[in-house]
Amino acid sequence: MALHIVTDSTCDLPKSLLSELGVTVLPCNLHIGDKTLLDGIDITSAEFYQRLMQGNVTPKTSQPSVGAFLDVYNKIGRPGDEILSLHISAKLSGTYNSAFQAAKEVQTKAKIEVVDTLTVSLGLGFLVREVGKLAKQGGTLKQATDFLSREIPNIGCYCSVDTLDYLVRGGRASRLQGFFGSLLDVKPIISVREGEVHPVGRVRTRKRMLARMVELGGEAKGLRALGVMHSACADEAAQLADSLAQYFPRKEIMICEFTPVMGAHLGPKAVGLAMWKGASR
């Protein structure tokens, strides 16, 4: 009897950590022209952002198929086992739906729980890391889902993009389009809260954007995890992490590059912040 953790490639955790924790990751799909690439497997972030910046690619994305989930669930789930499948907010992606349907149809005798984490990127990543540790220590599905229902509200994610093109084209933030829609060059800062994208503020320069990110990092009390995400701007991400060191040990700030499927919606030079808040341990 074992607890298996399944997630998707939008969790943005490094592969080494995922394999160390024994977490199974389903890659989302990236469609470039008529080619379908598996996120983070067929194309790395570095290659992807380079192509994006060279221009002329308009990537589309899609969730892993029901069949892909079925395969994974059937493969890892032995009778008596438990599977926790936790994913990107269902309001931002169909991944949860695919997983949910596969869980309904699966042949395995394992008990499967599919969870909409209402967050994305390292916000999801932190949750995956914790339940991964729990599973490794012999924790149960019940313990893991209790943990998630307690901690999901304490996860916060912020992001700022350098150009609105990708976000608008991708449609994930369409309810904010008017907030972006400006005659001036504006860099919006958005948050993912309760599964949805919300406006936080607007600035006109990257410098102010980074300063605002530092402020946002300082607003959270009792941080338990802090992460900085970026798409092809590692220097700024490191700089942001340095500034955030006043709130959280610099060594523990996780810096990750957005996986290509995330990058397809954010564009190059996007900067993000993921926080796990709350004073109690």
Binding site: V66, N97, K104, G171, Q177, F179, G181, L183, G201
Partner: protein, 551 residues
């Protein structure tokens, strides 16, 4: 994708097929996919629900392709084997929510026809019915007005006809025409579609698949080259078979009384005049909807059989253009913003950043407290933030706040237009008044303002001597540059104000300045402040040739 050329193709003149064997079933799916392929962009453009990412068409096509690839391997087998392979292939390759639902429809169909060598119309109808049921069963929260509704109503229509005409073509005919009318009704079932002026993308995709399948059964299956190119047709349910030849014509609605014709007769007549036909009610009161190029012909015929109680004729082309060119309005928030602005360009900037209303006025034309109040009372929100954008307007704004009893007015005391724009950067339509006022107040501090105008007379100000008619540059209440060449004056002013790496310099040029002149000035500023981002924006303000914001 596999070619259908090798499969036998029913001829138009031949009697309709009574059965579909495996090969014919596969050919039908290929034709269906080919038609969808030609309309992919059209379907993508409709996509607003549930995740508006504009890829429903692509996802459905990729799902069908994956199904066909799998089915190609068993093309020589029975209908049951082909259906099973399609189901398996689509399950593995399903993309997006519509793709997942599509794969479930194929799955239900496959279960229903299991073991059958060839399929009658009845078999196909039952298959579609089970497919629809399967799709409903797996969706977490089935929503009407989507591909699900289209699948259900189309399969019900197929089932109804199959008892009298058991040919596959008859069943697909009924399913296709019902699918089309259901698609046209989706905006009435799902609010978000109505708001966006579109029909459901997934439903439309399914209707195209039915249409392609039907075309095959009628011997009209398009070869790949004949497939109509996909056109962006936002806001219309029209498909490639439109009688309107690429334009939408008129969305025409009648409410008629004492109708002597039967509903089917009305329907048939309307279908001869246009498409997207919906006829509901009978005898006493009938509602007729169609898209047609000749609304007058529809009206004339209806007059001959009934009394017209109401009519509504809208030009869809005009609606379409309006929709396609419509700027996305800034969302209206919990808290309103009334800004005092002079200059059309600047007014548009404030509105684009979410201002609720503009009160015209500024330096030379201070609005009264009454005028500000009128704008505040015109706003829907109970709390309104006022941006005076001029030190001379601040008293009137404060007075308005004291005079108003019903609404709460918060004055964020911006002293010039660049400060006002900076304040708007801090505005968040989801935030409450206190939070907004604080963020806006703080955002003001991010900007430095410069002003360039012409001196009206000779003078020496702040140690700078100026002749009347010369350009003068001011910042923080001090005159810092003067001269005959406005470019130099702007350049000196910007230098004095100071830029650093990553600064944004915005030159709002006034009503008296041409775009070309402004661009030339901006180019000059760019040369001297290489590390900054310099933009020239039409402000349209009177009095000031340039308002300069440095952030």
């Amino acid at each position: 994708m596999a070619s259908s050329e090798t499969h036998r193709m029913p001829k138009t003149t031949a009697k309709p097929l009574t059965h579909l064997d495996g090969a014919a079933l596969l050919a039908m799916f290929q034709a269906a996919t080919a038609l969808l392929e030609g309309q992919v962009e059209a379907v993508n453009a409709l996509n607003v629900y549930p995740v508006p990412d504009g890829d429903t068409g692509t996802n459905m096509l990729l799902t069908m392709r994956s199904a066909l690839e799998e089915a190609d391997k068993s093309a020589k087998g029975s209908a049951s084997e082909v259906a099973a392979a399609m189901a398996k292939g689509s399950l593995m390759g399903a993309r997006g929510n519509s793709g997942v639902i599509l794969s479930q429809i194929l799955r239900g169909l496959s279960k229903s026809v299991q073991g059958k060598e060839r399929l009658t119309g009845q078999d196909i109808a039952s298959g579609l019915e089970q497919g629809s049921a399967q799709a409903y069963a797996v969706v977490t929260n089935p929503t009407e007005g989507t591909i699900l509704t289209v699948a259900r109503e189309a399969s019900a229509a197929g089932k109804a006809i199959a008892s009298t005409d058991n040919t596959p073509a008859a069943v697909l005919q009924a399913a296709t025409s019902t699918a089309k009318t259901t698609v046209a009704r989706t905006p009435f079932m799902l609010e978000i579609l109505r708001q966006n002026g579109v029909v459901d993308a997934g439903g439309q995709g399914l209707a195209y698949l039915f249409e392609g399948a039907l075309a095959y059964l009628q011997g009209k299956s398009p070869a790949a080259g004949e497939v109509r190119p996909g056109k962006l047709r936002v806001g219309s349910s029209h498909d490639g078979t439109s009688k309107l030849g690429g334009t939408y014509g008129y969305c025409t609605e009648f409410l008629v009384e004492r109708c002597t014709a039967k509903t089917d007769q009305v329907q048939e007549k309307m279908l001869s005049l246009g498409d997207s036909v919906i006829v509901v009610g009978d005898g006493d009161l009938v509602k007729v909807h169609l898209h047609t190029k000749t609304p007058e012909a529809a009206e004339a015929w209806l007059k001959s059989v009934a009394t017209i109680a109401k009519k509504k004729i809208d030009d869809i082309d005009a609606q379409h253009v309006e929709y396609a060119t419509k700027k996305v309005a800034a969302p209206q928030g919990k808290v309103g913003v009334v800004a005092v602005v002079s200059g059309e360009g600047l007014a548009n900037i404030f509105l684009s950043l979410g201002a609720t209303a503009i009160v015209p006025g500024g330096q030379t034309m201070n609005p009264s407290a009454q005028e500000i109040l009128k704008a505040v009372r015109g706003a829907k929100q109970e709390t309104v933030i006022v941006l005076p954008n001029n030190s001379n307007v601040i008293p009137a704004a404060k007075q308005a706040a004291e005079m108003e009893a019903a609404k709460k007015i918060v004055v964020v005391p911006t002293v010039d237009l660049p400060q006002g724009v900076a304040a708007m950067m801090g505005y968040n339509f989801e935030a409450e008044s206190r939070e907004n006022a604080m963020a806006m107040q703080k955002a003001v501090k991010a900007v430095k303002t410069g002003e360039v105008t012409r001196a009206v007379r000779n003078a020496t100000v702040d140690g700078v001597s100026v002749r009347g008619g010369q350009a003068i540059g001011m910042t923080a209440g001090k005159l810092v540059s003067a001269g005959d060449d406005i470019r130099e004056v702007v350049g000196k002013l910007v230098k004095r104000m100071g830029t650093e790496a990553g600064s944004a310099v915005t030159l709002y040029y006034g009503a008296a300045v041409s775009k070309a002149d402004a661009e030339a000035v901006a180019a000059e500023v760019r040369k001297q402040s290489r590390e900054a981002k310099v933009e020239a924006i039409a402000g349209g303000q009177p009095h000031y040739h340039y308002l300069i914001a440095i952030e």
